[in-house]
Symmetry: C2
Amino acid sequence: MAENSPTRGCMTIKPYGFALWDNIKNALDHEIKEVGVQNAYFPVLIPLAMIAKEADHIDGFATECAVVTHHRLKMNDEGKLAVDPESELTEPYVVRPTSETIIGESVKNWIQSYRDLPMKLNQWCNVFRWEMRTRLFLRTAEFLWQEGHNVFETAEEAKSDMHLMLDIYADILENWMAIPVIKGYKTDDEKFPGAVDTMTVEAMMQDGKALQSGTSHFLGQTFSKSADIKFQSREGDFKHAWTTSWGLSTRSIGGLIMTHGDDDGLQMPPRIAPTQIIIIPFLKGDNDDKILEYCQELKQNLKQAGMRPEVDVREMRAGDKTWDWVKKGIPLRVEIGGREMEEGNCTVTRRDLGRDSKATLSTNDFVKNAQSTLDEIQTNLFDAAKKQMDERIIDADNLADARAFFTDDKQGFVRLNKSFWGTEEFDKICSDFAVTPRCVPIDTPDKVLIGKSY
Amino acid sequence: MAENSPTRGCMTIKPYGFALWDNIKNALDHEIKEVGVQNAYFPVLIPLAMIAKEADHIDGFATECAVVTHHRLKMNDEGKLAVDPESELTEPYVVRPTSETIIGESVKNWIQSYRDLPMKLNQWCNVFRWEMRTRLFLRTAEFLWQEGHNVFETAEEAKSDMHLMLDIYADILENWMAIPVIKGYKTDDEKFPGAVDTMTVEAMMQDGKALQSGTSHFLGQTFSKSADIKFQSREGDFKHAWTTSWGLSTRSIGGLIMTHGDDDGLQMPPRIAPTQIIIIPFLKGDNDDKILEYCQELKQNLKQAGMRPEVDVREMRAGDKTWDWVKKGIPLRVEIGGREMEEGNCTVTRRDLGRDSKATLSTNDFVKNAQSTLDEIQTNLFDAAKKQMDERIIDADNLADARAFFTDDKQGFVRLNKSFWGTEEFDKICSDFAVTPRCVPIDTPDKVLIGKSY
């Protein structure tokens, strides 16, 4: 899916991982367009002075940026390529860690009156935050994401938009990626720098750690004031707008891997899988052409029925192919040899149920039922993850119980009365065990969830 | 479509421009996947030492890079946000101007034997080249593109791949964007730094200047040697691979604007237009709901027939709406008022033919014929541009005629015998009139085209 790159802290996303990201992108892009969001593109380099405009924002991001200070390389006296000291910029640029500031600078000119609102913009792009300890997909200096930036007339509309976008993230994560999430509010210490409210969809990985899988922020008038985004209101006077921002990144792929992986590797939720069904021909030199033809025909039939099948025609041992696709987590594996072909059959194995599910069935029946089998696998993956998460959310009546949970090194989240948040012992538990408040769930607004996180 | 951004030399691509880019992307992405290309993603920052590996490549790019030298900002003694001098990097990074080097570093580990070849990779991304004199879409410091990087066993395969990818570009430009192009080879002085051969699709803008609209390079073993991309051959020994690279960028949008624009603004070729048909309700307070319903129904019918219609429901005067869509170049404009509705009609104007084409027809007939009208507009736009280009390619028997052409400030290209290339007077014409060799066309391999360019 990905590997560490020669650039420190950055990853290379390999074709299989990128095909997955493309599917996530397409699903999410479709949903945001349905609610009136338009894509656009803003510069990757942000002038330092622009970042400096919003004080809270700086505190959150300034310590971890890639800074462009020169615009030319040249051969130095030793004949080595080096930075040309004469090309120093009077004003340095920052490689965007996020784009609230620069998008605000453009948008303020696009908005004159309330008639121009709401304005909902999104960009799919790369962002960069200097990271020392990196981990593939979960924490890398550069990552890919979408960042949405919406502008409204009223605070109410903006707040409701924060919820709407969070619901879309929950839908993508739960119904496409089969990752159960808890929707909630971040506590003050965990908010996005500059936000009034930050909402999150928190997932629980198999090791019981949390992964913040998408966030949606109600920014109040913080950025509309620093960028001076004003509009003429229905009453004729000029007002600062209310804004939201919302992002989901390639981090979510890390969440998928750590939610559905098992000892044999990855498990791809069918709805998002680049390949849903892999067809492996077993060739023995006899009738090989006919077997391949049979496989291709099966592929065509599955494709026509709206699925994503592939035939593996590589020059490799069939056993090695099988193992390769198991590791990649293809939901359904179909094996076809001479006997299957002659009898109009195929041998099918489900990735989620493993070897025990292996069965030989009529190819016609398989084609008829394949989509519902894929749907079943999708549901199974979600249900298993949901059960595991629910079992690992432990209620604690007091901080002593919470401390005991982490002292015993138990996996999961502790659910505590929100009133404990900010007390001395609460903070001490957090620092003793490297635990953080994950969120105040929408469903239990008087509780706070705490846990370890990625 | 786009505007200058607060970041010097960079543009902001506005929603309408980005929707066009999305359509170009989708069409091209589909075609390259059909020939076996897979998308992937590589880091935006390239270590200086890696860029330095390939000497010719450096000469071509080193003078125009954004260089990252620090990784932190902090408040200075005056309380202003500034670069933290203690965060200087031991090795600077360059914001990618193109990715041959860093992709080579990864790909060399992905290739062991001839069985892994061909390997065809592409990334859709942003690139950065420091530019002093910029122009929206045509020349900006940052732009969006795809860069393809293919690896082969033999020189023959790689050369034929260079042609294949160029043909795909020609298809996208001619058949989707309605921009006629000339396919040809770049002369030695105009090649991509490090390439053995560079092929180009050259378009001619309405002012007679050339726009290099896509390039495809046969890189020989230049980059496989500098990155050490080796494979075990069919004979069992290890050989350096043969590579190509190929790119098409948001520049092509500049080409579209300058090919199809007229006094009234843009003209969008239907096949690539974000909106193909705009429906404008003429509301007078009478029957407004019914008129809007009629418009929405028409939209649904056109959509079901596979077209991209929109209804303009903005609070604006209908005349202002009309003018807005004319400027945006929507191929077909449909106006519907109370009378049209009652008679089951609509009033349709073609953007390419203007006011004279305005006609009231039965809405049913319009729906039936709209797709073929769009096809006709597509063809018309291409034919008009092709005719204009062909008329402006002038044959010159000698350099004196070529000089006369540019002295008279005529618009277009001069076609000369290739043997003139590199002569003293040839070079002098080029420098006297800021003219460059555009290409040696495939169709006339003994000729060279020269002209002014963007």
